[in-house]
């Protein structure tokens, strides 16, 4: 599904990402862990063509992503608040995003219905603008919008931070369901090793821009990761 080859990214001469080869299969749930500055967000931004690689390329369905539009119709993503339009209400934002993916109003409200538990009554049906929402509710808005277009590939950066415990559990349930029912390919980064091992079948550890571990999740994965990160 996603193929990365010889990908490097440098800022002011220092290499922040260097991945010779990485393949992500259709339907795979791919977890990305690493300390601050390991290059997780950089990798996601490269996949989403938000920054330019110094060398190498990312292809999705054998098509390079750089400077193209085709992949946008089936990739859903939420990295940070720059993906939100802060002067809209969540409802307006969902309507906007939904229309971009050719969803009818009925589709959109049916979709949001499924999220009502996750939203906990604080996101939709409110007159509040997105910029007036709490960080957690902003995050929920962004995640839901990323899923709105029925993406074949879903990319989320730190989806669990800023969420309350119940919402974290609900989000995990939603993600697991998507894997089972829609076979969505997922790329999820997190600081929290627990969450990643619960949601992802494959876990990759980044350190200083390099892939240092690439593990298929098993019962021992959490221990292995914990011992890796232990100082």
């Amino acid at each position: 599904m996603i193929t990365i080859s010889n990908l490097t990214k440098k800022y002011n001469g220092t290499t922040v990402l260097d991945i010779p080869a990485l393949n992500i299969q259709p339907g795979e749930s791919f977890g990305l862990v690493g300390n601050n500055g390991a290059g997780k967000t950089t990798l996601f931004r490269l996949i989403l063509d938000l920054i330019e690689a110094n060398s190498g390329e990312v292809t999705i369905k054998n098509q390079p992503v750089a400077r193209r539009d085709e992949w946008k119709s089936y990739v859903g993503s939420f990295l940070d608040e720059n993906f939100l339009i802060d002067f809209l209400t969540p409802d307006e934002y969902f309507a906007f995003v939904g229309k971009l993916y050719n969803k009818s109003e009925g589709d959109i409200s049916a979709f949001l219905e499924k999220f009502s538990e996750f939203f906990n009554g604080e996101v939709t049906g409110n007159k509040k603008l997105i910029r007036e929402l709490s960080k957690g509710n902003q995050k929920k808005t962004g995640i839901a919008a990323a899923l709105l277009g029925d993406p074949q590939i879903l990319i989320l950066d730190e989806p669990f931070t800023a969420l309350d415990p119940s919402s974290q559990i609900r989000l995990k349930r939603i993600l697991n369901e998507l894997q089972e029912t829609k076979n969505t390919t997922m790329l999820i980064s997190s600081h929290d090793l627990n969450h990643v091992t619960e949601v992802c079948k494959r876990t990759v550890v980044l350190e200083k821009g390099k892939v240092v571990r690439d593990i298929a999740t098993s019962d021992d994965t959490l221990k292995e990761l914990e011992s890796y990160f232990a100082v």
């Binding site: 946008k72 990739v75 720059n82 939100l84 002067f87 995003v97 971009l100």
Partner: protein, 495 residues
């Protein structure tokens, strides 16, 4: 004293903000403009006495100024009401500290008095007082005149911020104020009641009688009191910063018909919402509406209406102010959610098309609104047609193409009229040629062509641009795709 500490912190905030270290070129340009206007003001101040002496034989210049005072104050209040940003304070940081509420309120109200920009009028007032008032009356009156002017400035500041806090800054207030001004002017014009004479008496007392000083003090004290009252009624500190954000959801509901037009319609609706939900973009539209009246000034004045280059300039402003000012920061307006633009299902081509559509829509609306100038002569109508074509065919392209170089983030939620975020030397590089290029062409062509022929040339240039819009869009799309990484990176850097 606490207020002094708070003021010091505000100064630091100014000096340490990123905006302060904005490009040298911008600073130089701003500095140059400031000097330029200061020079103009001082010159006006020195010559005002002479000018007024010629206006009327029996009244002294100061008396004439007194008569006009009501108008001047009302006008200043109106301008302030729309331009002055409410003074706010990062409250959260102070709320938890043991600072008294009244200290905070006093600080918010006193802060604007320490901003030099508010005293620009004095550049006119002081030379006038020194040169004319002291000669006609006495040095004492001149001094009192200056002091009262300062008090009036204070009163204006406080009254404007009170009105703003009380009523917000919605369109209705704009209309009401215009009506009041028109009403006062009408009373004067039809000789029902001479506001001028009334004002002359009142301000004659305030400016010349020592007791008048007390009156001025009392009145500006009352304006201050009004604010205090407002704050005591609206106890909770959120109110300090509120008001502006209210009542903005209504305006944009009427555009839902755009939803029928798929992605393009959605994106257009989004930009309309952007415009009407932010102070900066809204005031930009109001200002453009005001600039549409520029023609009344230029077309009736011999000096300008006789000069083809000035006429062209004015035509450009009347039919294009909105698209020129909005277009100057097109793309940058959306810097807050630019990553969404790049990753959601929005083809680059569509995105460019939308921006074209918006600018062209501005041009069409401005042109339609300018048609009443037909009453002043067909000459102006043709001028507007030509400039409309020029704006649409050529300037829209220049603005959108060059917008891809402006990668400074604009954070629209920071509400301020004089918010120059996103202004770099690049914006001047763009806007100056766009404004003055047609003037330059005209200036040259005027040597061997009649005005109508010049209009024809400019109109045809514009028309050929309009015809080639599909091709222009292709160029802009390529350019946008080439520059999108630099844009996205710049927009992610917040000030």
């Amino acid at each position: 004293m606490l207020i002094a500490d708070l003021l010091k912190q505000e100064f630091r905030k100014g000096f340490r903000s990123q905006a302060f270290y904005r490009g040298l070129a911008v600073k130089l340009f701003m500095g140059f403009m400031t000097l330029y206007f200061a020079a103009i003001f001082i010159t006006i101040g020195f010559s005002l006495g002479k000018i007024l002496e010629e206006v009327h034989d029996t009244r002294t210049p100061l008396e004439l100024i007194n008569g006009a005072s009501v108008y001047i104050i009302l006008a200043a209040l109106t301008i302030r009401f729309f331009m002055q940003s409410l003074n706010t304070l990062n409250l959260q940081a102070y709320q938890s500290l043991p600072v008294k509420r009244s200290t905070l309120v006093n600080f918010i109200l006193l802060k604007p008095l320490f901003s030099i920009g508010n005293y620009l009028t004095l550049l006119v007032v002081i030379p006038f007082a020194v040169r004319s008032v002291s000669a006609w009356h006495s040095g004492w009156v001149a001094l009192q005149f200056v002091v009262v002017c300062i008090l009036i400035i204070w009163m204006d500041i406080w009254l404007a911020s009170y009105l703003k806090r009380r009523f917000g800054s919605d369109l209705r207030a704009f209309v009401v104020i215009l009506l009041i001004l028109a009403g006062v002017a009408a009373l004067e014009y039809f000789k029902v009641f001479s506001v001028f004479g009334f004002s002359m008496k009142i301000f004659g007392f305030v400016m010349m009688n020592p007791l008048g000083l007390v009156v001025a003090l009392l009145v500006s004290g009352m304006a201050y009191g009004l604010n205090l009252m407002f704050f005591s009624k609206n106890y909770y500190p959120e109110k300090f910063n509120e008001k502006l954000s209210r009542g903005e959801n209504k305006v944009t509901g009427g555009f839902s018909f755009l939803e029928k037009y798929g992605t393009i319609g959605e994106l257009i609706q989004l930009q309309i919402r952007l415009i009407f939900r932010h102070k900066r973009t809204k005031s930009l539209i109001y200002m453009s509406a005001v600039f549409m009246l520029y023609g009344l000034l230029f077309y009736t004045n011999e000096m300008y209406s006789g000069s083809p280059a000035w006429l062209i300039f004015c035509g450009l402003i009347v039919t294009g102010m909105a698209s020129l000012t909005y277009g100057q920061w097109v793309i940058s307006w959306e810097s807050n959610y630019f990553d969404a633009i790049l990753t959601k299902n929005i083809p680059a081509k569509t995105y460019i098309k939308v921006n074209y559509f918006i600018l062209i829509a501005f041009n069409v609306i401005s042109f339609l609104l300018s048609t009443p100038y037909l009453l002043m002569g067909t000459k102006f109508f043709f001028l507007h047609v030509a400039m409309f074509l020029f704006n649409t065919g050529i300037n829209a392209f220049l603005l959108i193409f060059t917008a891809t170089f402006n990668n400074k983030r604009i954070d629209l939620s920071a509400r301020s009229m004089f918010n120059y975020q996103g202004t770099t030397y690049k914006s001047f590089l763009i806007i100056l040629p766009v404004m003055f290029f047609p003037m330059l062409i005209t200036f040259i062509l005027a040597n061997f062509l009649s005005f109508n022929m010049i209009l024809l040339v400019l109109g045809l240039l514009g028309l050929s641009g309009v015809v080639s819009i599909p091709y222009q869009m292709k160029l802009c799309t390529q350019q946008f795709v080439r520059r999108k990484y630099a844009l996205a990176e710049g927009f992610r850097e917040s000030e």
